[in-house]
Amino acid sequence: MGTRFHLILPGLDESAGNRLFVQVKREVDRIERKISRFDPQSDLSRLNQIKAGRSAQVDGEFFDILKACKTCWEITAGAFDPVLAGMAGEPSGAEDVLPGMHSVQLFEEGYRVKMGDGVQFDLGGFGKGYALEKIRELFLSRGVKHAFINFGDSSVLAVGPHPAGGNWKIGIRHATNPRKSAHVFRVQNASVSTSGNFYLDDGGQPVQHHHVIHPRTGLTDDRPVTMSVCAASPLLAEMLSTAFLVMDDEQIEEILDLYDGVEAAKIDYSAGSGEPEITVYNSNQNNGLEQYENQPEEVS
């Protein structure tokens, strides 16, 4: 997953904390070995190496991962697509049907996967959410009361209430004014995932990333926009934050109608003034879409 991972376990003694940490680390390493695009021996890399039109057998867990991806791909009408066109052709920029998830077939019997021409899986928009999902299950089974897990500052999971009481307040940092939060999610037993087209360097400055590719045009999306999604399921938050980046307001609302308790925030720096336009979407409100005044919260 190519990033750093922080696990904060308030209220546990050191020994119990260390034991839990080792279990979490093993689980994260296991998932990394399964779905990493950078490890040539991973299940994902081996699948990417099979020839077009040929099928390969994967294990049950990996098959479930691919099924979850396909479901999200269907729900988002292809906006979430973990299948890259690879080197199949130059992107035209037009709304073509490019090689993508639709060219991958999943066969329950024998957990077989058949790949289309020139396609490659990239689970970059999935892995951190999946790892958090697994960690959440582990913590539930161990009765962990409070925990905060942070994957590279882009995918976090808050377990239980905040140790000082109340919800955890997860602020999405204002990119051009790092002392402020552009939006704050108030969460318990939920995850927040952010996708964007730029990253922050160590000095907190935005740097263009060019890593989100529009699945229907094949072009990178260079708008300076981040999309953050809060949901009980870390995996859902992860996948929707990626998909929502390339979806319009109406499409986002339609997706949110399918779920309870999902909140999303689009933070758009396109205006170039340094002050972003912030749009919040909420599955629990009938009016759904609210345009907020720009009043970012001051944080210490």
Binding site: H6, I8, S154, A164, G166, S181, V184, L200, P206
Partner: protein, 424 residues
Amino acid sequence: MRINRKKFLEMTAAFAGSTAMAVHMPWFSIFNNPAPDGTGAADRVRIGVIGVGSRGTALTYNLQELEKHMNLEIAAVCDNYEPHFEKAKEIVPQADAYMDYRKMIESTELDGVVIATPLHEHAQMTVDCLQAGLHVFCEKAMARHLDDVKRMYDTHLEEDKILMIGHQRLFNPIYLDAMDKLEKGDIGPITMMRGWWHRNTDWIFYEDTGGRGTELDKRLNWRFYDESSAGMISELGSHHFQVANWVLGQTPESVVGHGSINFFDDGREVYDNFALVFRYPDGIHFSYDCITSNKHNGMQVQVLGNDGTMELESNMWFEEFPSDPPSAENLLQQLEEGENETIPIGGATWLPDTPVRLGGKYISPDYEMNDTLLFLEGFVNYIKKGSAPEKLTIEGYNASVWTLLAEQATKTGQMVTAPEKYLL
């Protein structure tokens, strides 16, 4: 970020007076304080190019680029190999063309020459040109033999003419940022340097020579022959030996090494792989290896410090202990204080690294500047001023001396130190 000429000049101006510039790259001040560029013919700097093969052609094109905005003229070209002579006339049709450099310096009025001939020819040409009152830019390395290196240097002092050796990293802006960071201790005390140049190539510049050992091959593929070259030690390694001396601000105390031909055994006389260890004062070592049958590792020079590593060829530096992302620090603090404040997380992925390697940052903004062009621009400017920073010549001198000592180490299997007479 890509840096253009304007940004480059802002950078060199900003570094004026810094230790990095004053100690390591004093020649960079010339770009903010160029010599007056009179427009008349009398003020025109007249350059002759000796050797118009692969490197000489590139240098000629760079000089033509400079002609567009400097009062400069390529007044003469020279090559004693007929096809190169003809090509030189095509590239610079208005220049006087010669096959013998002696005739060139006798017959065409020149201020300076650019020499890009085989290594073993550098010394006599340089000495003749300096003694004819010309300033010299000579491609690296300086010469095939230590006494010739010394003779070139001494003649430059005696004749009081500029002698620059074309180690182009000396004019690479990335090194100014790197030197500044090293001076400030950003990677801590330097404890080692490593370098390598790995390629997968037969290194044959000219195919139709009749093969190894023929007279034509000795002339064109001169890099393969002991008489004319130390092979990759002089043609590749010397660049990085210069960098190590420059970064460490010292010359080595000794060098050991080995070389062999273990793959391209086609009659060439120079190694197709070698490995060296230079020992510097304070117990610092610079290990360097070169191979031409495997390109996996590419080319690199690393400066290793107790707090970080700089990779100079790729403009990257890596901290040993990158700081935690702000949210983790912030949360721990508030948990200790029993507070429930907002936990700020990155507005987008917080990356402790570039996609290349975990923990890396750029040493310097990415430059569009061509260091060879800057070097030649510096040469022309210094010709107008009549002299150049002596450190430029000394960098070339020390690199060439230690290139030849390194070769000696590989041939003798002995640890080699510099004889007193070659120390400046």
